[in-house]
Symmetry: C2
């Protein structure tokens, strides 16, 4: 039995998406182009235009604003560095981003600082991962060129309320970039408001290696991929038509019914976890309507997330710990640190993300195995058990408070 | 009947490549990673390692030197800008490249000049597109950080002799980047010598949206895609495993027999063109062993390349004019200009590139149709006929000579 519950790291490409791509692999080979009326180029051009229309429609953007990229990382690099490079000779070289941003945002900022003379600050979040509006206002007063905020968080699933943030950024004349890779097709987003929006294919049952960036018409941006005049001169290179067609097909297929299904499955998982396992804590937004619909993130007390993963993997269940991309960094997740979890606690983090391909039967099989794994690990290796026991006791008794801690909203179970 | 003779713009993905990719779309979904012994991640990791080994072996490089990218354009941008950015604070910010380089090289240089304070010069080529060694030496004396040279030219098919060029660059302590997208798997290349080598998948029956850059271990480079620690920390982002597996499968499949086949077909095409059509001229290397094996580039006198394309397309034959990527620029091909062709002549350029999927029967069908199209166009619309007639008469009589013109080696037919 193989049960994939790590759909926020990557997702199975649907059979219909594969089928939609195949003709563009094997038959429609010419690069898109209609300037000379070449029929082969027209077929590819029409597919490209239609894909652009589908993505734009989903985002409430203009098709001309959609630039296809090689995925989330390129879209985020293009948004942040593209705007920065357009302001390279400005006196103002200041940027801000959420402290729970994706690594491709944070590392772009580090690179801009290290090599190109930019400065940046990270906006504080509260204990559920929501942007601290007061801190945002303070930093906006320093006149950042661009503000980067995640819509749905990659790790703790918190879905940010964007309306007031976008208005605030525009009030201060800052561009606003929304990292919407994890929420795209899962949570409604009116991308006509923010200046830049990142979306990606591989988290919605589309192929890896393709994504898009919505770039508002007024945004001055320097392209990162110089070369051909593709993508409205904003991204050179032969278009990955099969990938783009696959992406658009995945978007078309991702109906509200899928979200209803995954949310019910997620809630079923959550209710049954509470019934069967003690001593764990939800991370991220407590209000389920403010979480990604398919997503649960937890910290299990007294155990290591990596150990949970390893044991579950041997039983055929795949989940994630912390941010999947961060595993090689060998340090505590910056997201869990930002929401105020001590390193010792965040080591026990896991992330479970279901998809339309998961079933209740799989969840029914998963929960008792997870319960057994947790029990065995706690018996075997009480790592930091004393520290964590003390921490949770102090937290429960109200002795630990930090300024962003909405302790009373966090559900804890034992 | 559909006959695709534009295999230097893009190529059909082979059925076995598609088959090899499918499990990585639908079943092996986890991102690669073995640090926690996760089985799903191990399958992807093994596929990634094996693909890296295949590409490295083909290039005589170390697998650790291979960085997977989203294709030719990204590889060229990473090579040129990555090295430039690593030297951003140097006093020396000088770069040189062949004047017949791909647009993704030339536009990277323009971007470095416009935004980042770099300077560059382009190295002259002779009338067949070979690097002018004297000019190269002169420019090397100005101490460029990096020299970029195409191995097989995208447009005129000339295959550069690299050995002396690489030695010369290293003698002057310059890094040397080889653009080998068009020659990869088609012409042997020992990539252990040059510091950086670009290769791509979509020209050898692999998928679009994937390529690689060989980066020598001593090369200091700033990555363009910040984010995860993938690709030896030189290219962040979830790996496009299906694409990478497809790329490696295409490389494995591209045997010397394929080159023998395409070369014979190309030669057959050439011999029959000469028998059936008057007034055209080969562009690029005259010595067939110094051309891409599957490639012919021609200028037809007194006609427009675009018109030839359009008419052939209506008959089901697909070829290219100038550089396929350049068509939207609406200016004479920079490659044909660099080899000394007047604009009026280069307008008549076409490029024909065969593949293993083409047949003699297709060539037999193609030639009379091309002959008819040329004849009709010359009758219909003698654009610039007077100028070009005069030019070729003067050229034939030896009245036109420019310094790079190896006139006596160019075959002309009438």
């Amino acid at each position: 039995m193989k049960v994939f519950l790590d759909n926020n790291s990557s997702s199975k490409v649907s059979e219909t998406v594969v089928k939609a791509m195949i003709p563009y692999f094997t038959d429609i080979v010419s690069p898109p182009g209609s300037e000379y009326g070449i029929s082969a180029g027209i077929e590819a051009k029409e597919a490209l235009d239609e894909a652009r229309r589908v993505i734009a429609e989903k985002l409430n953007a203009d098709p001309d604003e959609i630039v296809f990229t090689s995925g989330q990382t390129e879209s985020n690099n293009l948004a942040i560095k593209g705007v920065a490079f357009a302001n390279l000779n400005n006196e103002n070289k200041y940027i801000i981003a959420s402290s729970v941003s994706h690594f491709s945002v944070l590392d772009s900022l580090e690179s801009l600082k290290k090599y190109f003379g930019f400065e940046y600050d990270l906006i504080k979040v509260d204990s559920e991962g929501f942007i601290d509006r007061t801190h945002l206002s303070e930093l906006l007063a320093k006149n950042p060129l661009i503000v980067s905020i995640p819509h749905g968080n990659q790790e703790i699933g918190t879905v940010e309320d964007l309306e007031d943030i976008i208005a605030l950024c525009h009030k201060f004349n800052s561009l606003i970039h929304i990292e919407a890779s994890y929420s795209f097709c899962k949570v409604p987003l009116d991308a006509s408001k923010p200046d830049l929006v990142t979306v990606t294919s591989h988290l919605i049952h589309g192929p890896k290696g393709v994504g898009a960036l919505k770039i508002g018409k007024k945004v001055k941006i320097v392209r990162l991929m110089d070369g051909g005049l593709q993508e409205n001169k904003k991204r050179g290179g032969t278009e990955n038509i099969p990938g783009i067609v696959g992406f658009a097909t995945a978007v078309s297929e991702y109906t509200p019914e899928i979200n209803k299904y995954t949310q019910e499955l997620r809630d079923y998982l959550w209710e049954n976890l509470k019934k069967n396992i003690a001593n764990f804590q939800l991370t991220g937004a407590v209000d389920k309507t403010k979480r990604l619909p398919n997503h649960l993130s937890l910290v299990f007390n007294y155990v290591e997330g990596e150990s949970i993963l390893l044991h579950l993997d041997m039983l055929g269940f795949m989940i994630a710990t912390g941010s999947a991309c961060s595993s090689k960094r060998l340090e505590a997740s910056h997201v869990l640190t930002a929401i105020g979890l001590p390193t010792e606690v965040s080591h026990g983090s896991v992330r479970i993300a279901v998809s339309q391909y998961n079933t209740k039967e799989e969840i029914d099989a998963f929960i008792p195995e997870l319960a057994k794994v947790i029990k065995r690990l706690r018996e075997m290796s009480p790592v930091n058990a004393e520290f964590m026991k003390e921490y949770f006791e102090m937290k429960a008794s109200g002795k630990i408070h930090d300024e962003h801690d909405h302790h009373d909203e966090i559900e804890e179970h034992d």
